[in-house]
């Protein structure tokens, strides 16, 4: 009740502030941080030179449109006002004027040429993907992003980045956080003042990787590798979303980019590489059942819960509690998680989760929700199954 009344008062205040901001060119924006998230109505200038150019072009064409509107609609409203029959206007019967008609063909044409020049210049810059300092491969999945830092020495670092907003916020059971739907578990890190080349592709359907403040939008198309680049000139957290309809959770695969100093970036990358080495060691380790169950619970809650439910009760996916698969042959169970099930929403997680997590989540599913199978899979089993042994 209280929430609603509060919203309403903001709603009525909003247009007033909007109007003020239009005439004062956003002067209020700095003073009221709480309004940062409200009534945004324009493109961001962003954190790149290209983005600033795009913003400049956008404002140029916008003001030209305003100018054209003032002239055209001014003439129209004057006409509508002045030549009314009720005011005694008598219709003259003139028509056609070659001079006028040539003029109103030439003038727009000239304006358009004036627009085409700067647009061409900026476009060529957008397409200049040469001599990048860093290459990042971006792959769109239903419904998450995979980032892979291409290392010339072959030491690639890769990870998945998916929505962190809990279902309870989406379904209005909990208050929504500041970055609702624009938060991820693992953001992409980029160094500031470095030209980064993105290699963008899709794994299943077409997605589109878009971060407004980095001025990048590229379609992620299966079978194609598109190029794009960005060069952030300031640090910060920049958020974006998938821009191409890609199925059920199209609205739920955000992008978060942390642009940091070179030192911070190096430290982060070092940590990622260490994690990868650690994972390699884990692959060879023999886990106990409780270890696997604990790790698997975390994986389950990140990856499986949206479809199979908190208690394995099912939803979009089949119920796991007492299911034939989760209480049947463990190899079949692993196989379905690794390869997915064709014709259903069950995806192939073999390429998305590492061997340790796959073993853990399957073990968890077999020992939770009252399944109590007592058996477990080790990373090496997963590895063998993936290799078809």
């Amino acid at each position: 009740m209280f929430l609603k009344a509060k919203r309403l008062s903001k709603l009525t205040l909003g247009p007033v502030l909007l109007f003020l901001s239009l005439i004062s060119n956003g002067a209020w924006a700095a003073e009221a941080e709480s309004w940062r998230h409200r009534f945004q109505f324009n493109l961001p200038i962003g954190a790149t030179d290209v983005g600033a150019q795009i913003y400049g072009l956008h404002m140029l064409v916008f003001w030209i449109c305003v100018g054209v509107s003032v002239v055209v609609f001014g003439a129209m409203f004057y006409t509508v006002f002045a030549f009314r029959k009720s005011r005694g206007a008598v219709a003259s019967q003139f028509h056609e004027s070659t001079t006028l008609e040539i003029a109103w063909t030439i003038v727009p044409f000239v304006i358009l040429i004036g627009l085409a020049f700067p647009a061409t210049k900026t476009l060529l810059e957008i397409y200049d993907n040469k001599s990048a300092d860093l290459d990042v491969m971006i792959t769109g999945y239903q419904w998450k992003w995979k980032y892979e830092y291409i290392d010339p020495q072959g030491n690639n670092v890769s990870f998945f980045s998916s929505l962190r907003t809990p279902q309870s916020e989406i379904y209005n059971e909990e208050a929504k956080g500041q970055d609702y739907l624009l938060e991820v578990d693992e953001p992409l890190y980029l160094p500031v003042n470095k030209k980064v080349r993105f290699l963008v592709t899709g794994n299943d359907v077409i997605h589109s990787w878009w971060v407004p403040e980095l001025a990048v939008k590229r379609d992620a198309i299966p079978g194609f590798v598109n190029e794009a680049h960005t060069k952030a000139i300031k640090t910060g957290i920049f958020r974006g979303q998938c821009a191409e309809l890609c199925g059920r959770d199209h609205g739920f695969m955000p992008i978060v980019v942390n642009v940091v100093s070179q030192d911070e970036y190096d430290a982060w990358l070092g940590k990622k590489k260490a994690e990868a080495t650690e994972l390699k060691a884990l692959m060879e380790k023999e886990f106990t059942l409780p270890e696997l169950v604990e790790r698997g619970k975390g994986v389950y809650e990140r990856t499986c819960v949206a479809c199979h439910g908190v208690n394995g009760e099912g939803g979009i996916g089949k119920p796991l509690a007492k299911s034939a698969i989760a209480t049947g042959d463990i190899k079949t169970h692993l196989g379905i998680v690794i390869h997915g099930k064709a014709g259903t929403a069950m995806q192939a997680f073999g390429g998305q989760l590492n061997e340790v997590d796959l073993a853990a989540v399957v073990t968890y599913e077999r020992n939770a929700f009252g399944n109590n199978m007592g058996d477990s899979a080790q990373p090496v089993d997963v590895y063998k199954l993936k290799k078809g042994q």
Partner: protein, 520 residues
């Protein structure tokens, strides 16, 4: 045929077997209004879900079905058949022809439509739900990843395409062969001209759409890989083929609307159209350009820079003939003697709001900036300014304008004007804020959004509910007119009306121009 004028048959068979252009026009118009209500109710569900952040009413998969079905039903079910209905009623009466040139095909082209849409609507009740891949149905979302109902969707599109092709062939045949003596091409009313050009566009591009959906069908059921990268196919090819149809298609949806306002504005300004010839040439130029701009829908797919530049320049060029049209409408009103009956109000709003949509179109044409606009609500705002304030407003204007001629009864002007002002304000309340959320970064086709988009979305939803409900007033006004409107008999109906359709009796008799009139 003989000399005697017979009236229509009685009962249901009149409508099933009719070959009369006026009956078929009526069928098309009622059908399209029903589809307008259906497509509109899908839009209400979309706006209700988007009223607040969070998921309140529907699941994301159903939301996607709603956006898809809304687009398909409005484009193929509401706007296109409505203009064909107007063409059926008005083209023979405007060129002094007794009927359409191919009356039996006319019957067929209408009567296959209800089957197509019944099939399309039935997918909502199928296992896996209705099509959920957007009205642009990009592969592979619409092939490998589509629900089973996609096959019914493909068949429905085939039937709609066949209907449109037959309808356009009929219009071309009628205009070429059945003009009254003395009615040269450059004397044809602009509505006839714009439809004549539209009909050629339809004949050219509907087979392309049929090709696209047939390739989808092959990919889904017969193991081909036209659009599947895994099999050596090309998902981008789908977009090229689709938009080679799709861009002319959006002009198909608007050109007859240009024709309608070019009839109405001179009537209520009591002054001839300023530049008749330049209007005809501008329409033809727009139609030509529509074939060489398709990839401006695809600026972000990774076209080579040369292609990107070509499509940007070509797209910017469209502003020239479109500007010519707008300037012509305004100079037609200039120094006229204007009155503001409902059709004129809708036509003036058309000129105003369509120009707004045209200007945002110029912004979208700029390829580098489009990297920020592409697939956002800015695009949604843009095309609703052209499709709702353009196509739908012109259709509404046409209905009020010709309804007295069709029925011999006058609609309620008070109710008409109320309908206009409600529609005008509600339309802008709905779609103007969508420019803002789009620029601020809201992608289209999402069921839920980040908090900074909340305020404008709520405004937009409120506008949409108003817009939707004010169309009930329109329906009520039309039904009231038919049943108990004030009878009129003056053939001219409107003081400033010009053209052959105003020389026949009011209401228009079942058969008109059985002997062709002489045009001086």
């Amino acid at each position: 045929m003989g000399e005697h004028h017979h009236g229509p048959a009685k009962g249901l068979t009149r409508w099933l077997y009719t070959t009369n252009h006026k009956d078929i026009g009526t069928l098309y118009l009622w059908f399209s209004f029903a589809m307008f209500i259906l497509g509109g109710s899908f839009a209400m569900i979309i706006r209700a879900e988007l009223f607040q952040p969070g998921l309140q009413l529907v699941h994301p998969e159903f939301f996607n079905q709603m956006t898809t079905m809304h687009g398909l039903v409005m484009v193929f079910g509401a706007i296109m058949p409505a203009f064909v209905g107007l063409a059926n009623w008005m083209i023979p009466m405007m060129i002094g022809a007794p009927d359409m040139a191919l009356p039996r095909m006319n019957n067929l082209s209408f009567w296959i439509l209800p089957f197509a849409f019944a099939m399309l609507a039935s997918t909502l009740f199928m296992q896996g739900g209705a099509p959920n891949f957007g009205w642009t149905f990009y592969a592979p979302l619409s092939t490998t990843y589509a629900p089973p109902s996609v096959t019914f969707f493909i068949f429905a599109i085939h039937i709609m395409g066949a209907s449109s092709i037959m309808g356009s062939i009929n219009i071309i045949a009628t205009v070429v062969n059945l003009r009254a003596p003395g009615m040269t091409y450059m004397k044809m009313p602009l509505f006839v001209w714009t439809w004549f050009i539209t009909a050629f566009l339809l004949v050219a591009v509907m087979p392309v759409l049929a090709g696209a959906v047939t390739m989808m069908l092959m990919d889904i059921h017969f193991g081909t890989s036209f659009f599947s990268a895994a099999g050596g196919g090309d998902p981008v090819l789908f977009q090229h083929v689709f938009w080679f149809f799709g861009h002319p298609e959006v002009y198909i949806l608007i050109l007859p609307g240009f024709g309608v306002v070019s009839q109405i504005i001179p009537t209520f300004a009591r002054k001839p159209l300023f530049g008749y010839a330049s209007m005809v040439y501008a329409t033809a130029s727009i139609a030509f350009l529509s074939f060489i701009v398709w990839a401006h829908h695809m600026y972000t797919v990774g076209l080579p820079v040369a292609g990107e530049l070509f499509f940007m320049y070509a797209t910017l060029l469209i502003a020239v003939p479109t500007g010519v049209k707008v300037f012509n409408w305004i100079t037609t009103m200039f120094k006229g003697s204007m009155t503001f009956e409902t059709p004129m109000l809708f036509s003036i709003a058309f000129v105003f709001l369509f120009t707004v949509g045209g200007l945002s179109g110029v912004m979208l044409a700029m390829a580098p900036v489009d990297f920020q606009y592409q697939d956002t609500y800015f695009v949604v705002a843009h095309f609703h300014y052209t499709m709702v304030a353009g196509a739908i407003f012109s259709l509404t204007a046409a209905t009020y304008y010709w309804l007295p001629k069709w029925t011999g009864r006058m609609y309620s002007e008070t109710m008409g004007k109320t309908h206009f002002w409600l529609s005008f304000f509600a339309f802008n309340l709905t779609f103007f804020p969508q420019h803002f959320v789009g620029l601020a970064g809201m992608p289209r086709r999402i069921p839920d959004y980040a908090l900074q988009f909340a305020d404008f979305n709520m405004v937009s939803s409120i506008g949409a509910f108003f817009y939707g409900s004010s169309q009930i007033l329109f329906l009520f006004n039309v039904i009231r007119t038919i049943r108990s409107g004030r009878p009129i008999t003056d053939p001219k109906v409107w003081e400033g009306a010009q053209g052959l359709e105003w020389t026949v009796a009011t209401p228009a008799p079942y058969h008109t121009f059985t002997t062709p009139p002489e045009v001086k």
